[in-house]
């Protein structure tokens, strides 16, 4: 498994300059096609919330799974200074033979947490995502939003300072998604996590992120980025969010139209 190597100099400093630094990253799956990722540079500061936007198939998931260590890039480097990143998939990806708590406990077990401690820690994490007392439920007894929250609790159980999220709320209805946005922003600000949040929903990106990166397709490149000046919490239907979302949508559409010509 390709765990990015840590630079000793960074490790020794009290606060590393970034949680993750991606440099000139490229990924080629098939030789005769344009690279899926091309010269990607991303730098995420500790505690920063970055949203990654892009059209379908532009390579967002590929980038995120490379950062998560689920593959080896063709070239370039990925330095994660905060240990193994936690990753949330587009689907909840819960293990259906385990209870909600069992899923969270497996992440703790993988970290080597003792049995008794696992129990209480899982309960604590579940109440953090507002699922107190629901730990004994099986996956099929939970709604889509609850499943995604168990997945979030499981990601938090990895106790990583870097949380990677791949369109985690895409399959949910708007009201549930709103509630989870609130939940996520609360957790992020309480725990000082760095987050890379992938979505193709522009408003969601502006609602959540401090910085929004726009990715182009074929080859996948970061084509533009925006700083979101507004403070949290902010509502997805607030005028500020709408205005910036409109501007970003304009660029996203232009980027997509490029391929239609």
């Amino acid at each position: 498994m390709a765990q990015p190597t840590l630079r000793p100099a960074l490790q020794q400093q009290a606060t590393p300059a970034s949680s993750v630094r991606v440099t000139q990253l490229a990924q080629v799956f098939e030789r005769d096609r344009p690279p899926v990722l091309d010269r990607i540079d991303v730098d995420v500061a500790p505690g920063e919330f970055v949203c990654l936007l892009g059209a379908s198939g532009c390579g967002k998931s590929t980038l995120l799974s490379l950062i998560a260590g689920l593959g080896t890039p063709t070239s370039g480097s990925i330095e994660v200074t905060v240990g193994r990143p936690a990753l949330m998939f587009q689907e909840p990806a819960l293990l259906p033979w385990l209870t909600a708590a069992g899923n969270v406990e497996l992440a703790l077990k993988a970290r080597g947490v003792g049995r008794r401690e696992r129990r209480t820690e899982a309960e604590r994490l579940l109440s953090l995502v507002n699922l107190a007392g629901q730990g004994r439920k099986r996956v099929h007894e939970l709604s889509g939003g609850m499943r995604q929250r168990v997945a979030l609790a499981r990601a938090l159980a990895q106790d990583s300072r870097l949380l990677l999220m791949d369109e985690p709320f895409a399959a949910l209805d708007a009201i549930t998604r709103d509630a989870l946005h609130e939940e996520l922003i609360r957790l992020w600000s309480e725990q000082g996590l760095s987050v890379i949040f992938v979505t193709h929903n522009v408003r969601e990106a502006v609602r959540l992120g401090q910085r929004v990166l726009l990715m182009g397709s074929r080859p996948g490149r970061i084509v533009r980025e925006w700083q979101v000046g507004m403070s949290q919490p902010r509502a997805i239907e607030s005028p500020g969010v709408s205005a910036l979302a409109t501007e970003i949508t304009h660029h996203l559409r232009a980027e997509i139209s490029r391929h239609g010509r």
């Binding site: 193994r84 259906p96 993988a110 507002n130 939003g145 609130e182 919490p233 902010r234």
Partner: protein, 293 residues
Amino acid sequence: MAVDDETLTTEDSRTFEAGLDALEAPTLSPRPGPGAVFLRSVLPPMVAVVAFIALWQLAYSTDLKPSYALPSPLDVLRTFDQTVRDGRAWDAISISVSRGALGFLASLAVGTMLGLAMWRSRWLRTAIGPFVSGLQSLPSVAWVPAAIIWFGLSDAAIYAVVLLGAVPSIANGLLAGFDQVPPLLDKVGRVLGLSTIGRIRHVLLPAALPGYLSGLKQGWAFSWRSLMAAELITYSPALGIGLGQQLNIGRELNAMDMVIASIFLILVVGVAIELLIFAPLERRVLRTRGLTH
């Protein structure tokens, strides 16, 4: 519904979220009570059995066939009762069931190892996969003559037939189980930082369990069928009298009551083992995963 986040307290949003959960969580239908189960699942087959016996009695009373060829239900019951009283039925059951169990356990070991090997080695799978699947549809009674030529009229011949009948199902069941494991779940194991062993133990094996179990169930059905085919043909005093041999004796004596009583026992024992061992196991595994109620 426009909710202005800035005016919401954490408490408000918690209540809001709990409300969503209450509305959205799937409502599972409660398990039916014993009365409902009786009316829905037990009564209809009972009615069918009674109707069948009534038809049989009618055929007997109207002399559709000479009575040695078509005994009355009561005759069969008497013969059956006789074999139970003098212990022949129990002997035959214990001989056949212990053979069946031993044959199944051997098939389980061999089939599981074969399945694992085929899963680990793509080459092996491509090489012998089609033959293993082909064997699954070959009626194992076809092996009986070969087994007798190789092993004589012996237990070894019977076990050979049982193994050839059951091993392919079990190996294929395990393979199907592994194939059904969604790649996403393996990624979850890697993201969580589980070791290879940990991923096999905590992700792969549990995920493959339903397919494996249905392979085992089918393996048992094939074991039992193969065993009866083998017992029916390999008759020798040294082998003792199992259910299949009892059936064969009935045929040689032209005793239809004994033949029917034996068929009945073979059916009941095969179904009982499936219902008492495999069905609850499978139901439990599926219910935990919400695949059935």
